[in-house]
C-alpha cells in the first residue's frame, strides 16, 4: 500500500447525501476478478449517458455534462468533498478501488458508512470527517473558486485551506500509523501468531463445538 503523509490536491464536490456504493461502482463491474481498472466506471450511471458494461472502452461513451466530475475544472481532483453517510450500502471494496483508480486519495464528508470507511484505510485512501457546517462552507468555496485545492496533513491531522484556515480531524492512532507507514495489515497481524494460537487453544477448551 502507498504511504499517505501530506496531500495537496484539487477538490471535487459531490453534493448529495447518502451516496451508496451501488452508485460509486454499479453491480455489473463487480464481476471482475481483479482489483484494478475500476476508475473509468466510477459513478458510471451518473457519469455517462449510456449504460456501461464491463470490458467496454469508456473513451467513446457519451458523458453526462450535468455530472460534476465531468466538468473540466475538476479534472485531476484527488480530494472528494461529499455529504453525510457517504459510502452507505454494500461492503464492496470495488468502491474504494474505483475511487483510488480514478485518482481520489482522500474524501471529506460529515459522516461515512462504517464498512466503506474501513475499506478506505485498507487501500490507502484517507476518509476525513469534518463537521457538517465546515463541509457546507467548503462546498461553497469549492463551487465559487475554480481550481480550489486543500492540503491534507495526516501526521498533523489537519485540513488546511489556501487561506491558511486549519481544520483538525480525528483518526485512530493505529489506522494513522498504517497509512503513514504504508503498512500491510496481514503482516502486522502475523507478528502475533503466538497470541492467535494461544487464543485458539483456550477457546477450544471453553467452546469445543466451535472447532468441529
Amino acid at each position: 500500500m502507498d504511504k499517505f503523509t501530506v496531500l495537496d490536491g484539487i477538490v471535487a464536490p459531490l453534493d448529495k447525501p447518502n451516496v451508496d456504493t451501488d452508485a460509486i461502482i454499479p453491480k455489473q463491474f463487480l464481476k471482475s476478478i481483479r482489483r484494478s481498472g475500476f476508475g473509468p466506471n466510477l459513478f458510471d450511471a451518473w457519469r455517462y449517458l449510456d449504460h456501461g458494461e464491463p470490458g467496454q472502452d469508456c473513451e467513446p461513451r457519451p458523458l453526462n455534462p450535468g455530472f460534476v466530475l465531468n466538468q473540466e475544472r475538476y479534472s485531476g481532483a484527488s480530494i472528494l468533498l461529499a455529504r453525510e453517510n457517504f459510502g452507505c450500502g454494500s461492503s464492496r471494496e470495488h468502491a474504494p478501488w474505483a475511487l483510488l483508480d480514478y485518482g481520489f486519495k482522500a474524501i471529506i464528508a460529515p459522516s461515512f458508512a462504517d464498512i466503506f470507511f474501513n475499506n478506505c484505510f485498507k487501500n490507502g485512501i484517507l476518509p476525513i470527517v469534518l463537521e457538517s457546517r465546515v463541509v457546507s462552507d467548503l462546498f461553497e468555496r469549492v463551487v465559487a473558486e475554480p481550481g480550489y485545492h486543500l492540503m491534507i496533513d495526516l501526521p498533523a491531522q489537519q485540513v488546511i485551506t489556501p487561506d491558511r484556515q486549519v481544520y483538525p480531524f480525528e483518526v485512530d492512532a493505529f489506522r494513522k500509523e498504517c497509512l503513514v507507514d504504508g503498512l500491510d495489515d496481514i503482516d502486522l497481524t502475523l507478528r502475533h501468531v503466538e497470541s492467535i494460537r494461544a487464543y485458539e487453544a483456550r477457546r477450544r477448551q471453553e467452546a469445543p463445538w466451535l472447532f468441529q
Binding site: A45, P54, T189
Partner: protein, 471 residues
C-alpha cells in the same frame, strides 16, 4: 462484575489482543465466502505465498451471479461464469468447503449459513457482504467486511477492528396480523435513518422480537445495515435453540448439551447499559412501502408519498426531489395508487420458507393482475425450494402466474440476468432501493413478502386488510 450487553459478551470472548488505541485483534469463528468479493483475496494469498489459517472455519457458495433459470446449460454470461469458476477453482486449490451451483445446498450465503447450522450463537461471523448482519439473529456477532479483510481473515483467522457503541431497539407489544419483521425493519430505518445506526451495534429486544420466528429475526437483523449498523443481534431464547437442532454443522449429543448451556447466557444482562436506546410500539407498526431511493424513504400503506416542500433541511429536500423524479412519483400521491410492473419475492432478506408460505397464502387461488409483466419467486436455497415444493407452494405460485426459480441473489442486485428495465417499477422483498440497484433506471419499492404478493394480485400496492376484505 458490571452488567454486560450481549454485544459486550460477544466482543470480550473474541479479543485476541488489543492495541493502545483500542483497536483489537478479533478472532473469527465463521467465514462465509462468495464469488464476488473473494477472487482478489485468494489472489492476494497466492501472491504472498500464504495459506488459509483454518480451513474448517470457511464455507463458500456462489450466489450473486448464478442464473435462476434452468442451470443445465451452465452460465450464459462469460464474465459471470468466469467469476464462479474462479470461486470453484480457489476453493478446490485451498481446500475450502464449497456448495457448488448444482448442489441442493447451494443458495444465498445468508440463507445457507443458518440453514446448515454453520451460524451458531456466540460466534463471530464475517463475510464479504454487508448483509452478514443477518446472522446476528442467532446471538452471533456478525458483520460485513471488504475484500482486504476477507484476505485478512483467510490468512490470520482474525480481523483488526474497534468496538462499536451499543444501541438497543426495543419493540414492545404485539404486531398486527399481516405486519411482519420486514415492516419492523422499515419502521426502524424510517425513524432513525440510514445513518442512525452508524458506529453502533444494534440489539433488537422486546416482546415483539421474542415472538418472531428465526426467519423473522433474520429479516430484521439483515436490515440492520440499512440503518447504518454493521451488526444487528438478538439474544438467545428457546426459539433459537430449537432452530439449531439437527442441522448438519450444529453440534450433537453431549457437545450440543454443553453448547446450549453456554448459549443460554448469550443475552444482555438485565441491568446492562446501552449507549443509546430507541423504542417502538409494535401495535402501532403498519405495513410499510418505500417510496424513494434510500431505505429510510418509507411510508405506510395507508399513507401518501411525502411532499419535499415540507422538508426544512435543504440537502434532504433536494434528495427527496431527486428521488421523486427518479421514481416517477408525485408528492402527496396515495401509496395505494402506485401501479407496478414487476414483483420480486426473494433475497437474503425475505426468501426463507416462512416468507414463501405467507406470500403463497396471499396469492392462493388468485392470479397476478394484467399489468404485471413479470412476477417471480426466488427461493433462498435449494433446500428452501425443495421444502416449498414438498408443501406445494410452487404450484400455488405457478397457478397464480408467478415464475418459480432456482436459488440465488437474483433481482435483489441484478448481477445475473434477472433485472428491471429502465423505468420499470417493482414491488420487491429485497433490502435496497438505491438508484439502479435492480437494473439501470429500475424503480424499487421495498415491501414484505405478503405486501409484494398482494401487490402482484392487485397490480398496485394495497392494504392487506382491504385486500383480504377485512376492512
Amino acid at each position: 462484575m458490571s452488567a454486560l450487553t450481549l454485544y459486550d459478551k460477544l466482543w470480550q470472548s473474541h479479543v485476541v489482543r488489543s492495541e493502545k488505541d483500542g483497536t483489537a485483534l478479533l478472532y473469527i469463528d465463521r467465514h462465509l465466502v462468495h464469488e464476488v468479493t473473494s477472487p482478489q483475496a485468494f489472489e492476494g494469498l497466492r501472491l504472498a505465498g500464504r495459506k488459509p489459517w483454518r480451513l474448517d472455519a470457511n464455507l463458500a457458495v456462489a450466489d450473486h451471479n448464478v442464473p435462476t433459470t434452468n442451470r443445465s446449460d451452465g452460465i450464459a454470461d462469460p464474465v459471470s461464469r468466469l467469476q464462479i469458476e474462479t470461486l470453484d477453482k480457489n476453493c478446490a486449490e485451498f481446500g475450502i468447503t464449497e456448495f457448488r451451483m448444482n448442489d441442493v445446498r447451494q443458495g444465498i450465503v445468508h440463507v445457507i449459513g443458518p440453514e446448515q447450522g454453520a451460524t451458531l450463537p456466540g460466534m463471530t461471523v464475517v463475510c464479504g457482504d454487508s448483509h452478514t448482519s443477518t446472522h446476528g439473529a442467532f446471538a452471533a456477532l456478525a458483520f460485513g467486511i471488504g475484500t482486504s479483510e476477507v484476505e485478512h481473515v483467510l490468512a490470520t483467522q482474525c480481523l483488526l477492528t474497534k468496538k462499536s457503541k451499543s444501541m438497543r431497539v426495543n419493540v414492545e407489544g404485539k404486531l398486527h396480523p399481516g405486519v411482519s419483521a420486514k415492516d419492523i425493519a422499515l419502521a426502524v430505518i424510517g425513524r432513525i435513518g440510514t445513518a442512525g445506526g452508524t458506529g453502533f451495534a444494534l440489539e433488537f429486544a422486546g416482546q415483539a422480537i421474542r415472538t418472531l420466528s428465526m426467519e423473522g429475526r433474520m429479516t430484521l437483523c439483515n436490515m440492520a445495515i440499512e440503518a447504518g449498523a454493521r451488526a444487528g443481534m438478538i439474544g438467545v431464547d428457546e426459539t433459537t435453540i430449537a432452530y439449531l437442532q439437527n442441522r448438519p454443522f450444529s453440534p450433537r449429543g453431549a457437545l450440543l448439551d454443553q453448547a446450549v448451556e453456554n448459549w443460554r447466557t448469550l443475552k444482555s444482562d438485565v441491568d446492562a447499559r446501552f449507549d443509546q436506546e430507541v423504542s417502538f410500539d409494535a401495535s402501532q407498526i403498519r405495513p410499510h412501502v418505500s417510496w424513494g431511493t434510500s431505505p429510510e424513504m418509507v411510508v405506510t400503506i395507508d399513507d401518501c408519498v411525502p411532499d419535499p416542500a415540507l422538508e426544512k433541511d435543504l440537502v434532504r429536500r433536494q434528495a427527496m426531489e431527486n428521488a421523486l423524479v427518479y421514481m416517477g412519483l408525485e408528492a402527496n400521491q396515495p401509496v395505494s395508487s402506485i401501479r407496478i410492473d414487476k414483483v420480486f419475492i426473494g433475497s437474503c432478506t425475505n426468501s426463507r420458507i416462512e416468507d414463501l408460505r405467507v406470500a403463497a397464502a396471499v396469492v392462493k387461488g388468485r392470479h397476478v393482475a394484467k399489468n404485471i409483466k413479470q412476477a417471480m419467486v426466488v427461493p433462498g436455497s435449494g433446500l428452501v425450494k425443495r421444502q416449498a415444493e414438498t408443501e406445494g407452494l410452487d404450484r400455488i405460485f405457478a397457478d397464480a402466474g408467478f415464475e418459480w426459480r432456482e436459488p440465488g441473489c437474483s433481482m435483489c442486485l441484478a448481477m445475473n440476468a434477472d433485472r428491471l428495465e429502465p423505468g420499470e417499477r417493482c414491488a420487491s422483498t429485497s433490502n435496497r432501493n438505491f438508484e439502479g440497484r435492480q437494473g439501470a433506471g429500475g424503480r424499487t419499492h421495498l415491501v414484505s413478502p405478503q405486501m409484494a404478493a398482494a401487490a402482484a394480485i392487485a397490480g398496485h400496492f394495497t392494504d392487506l386488510d382491504v385486500f383480504q376484505g377485512n376492512l
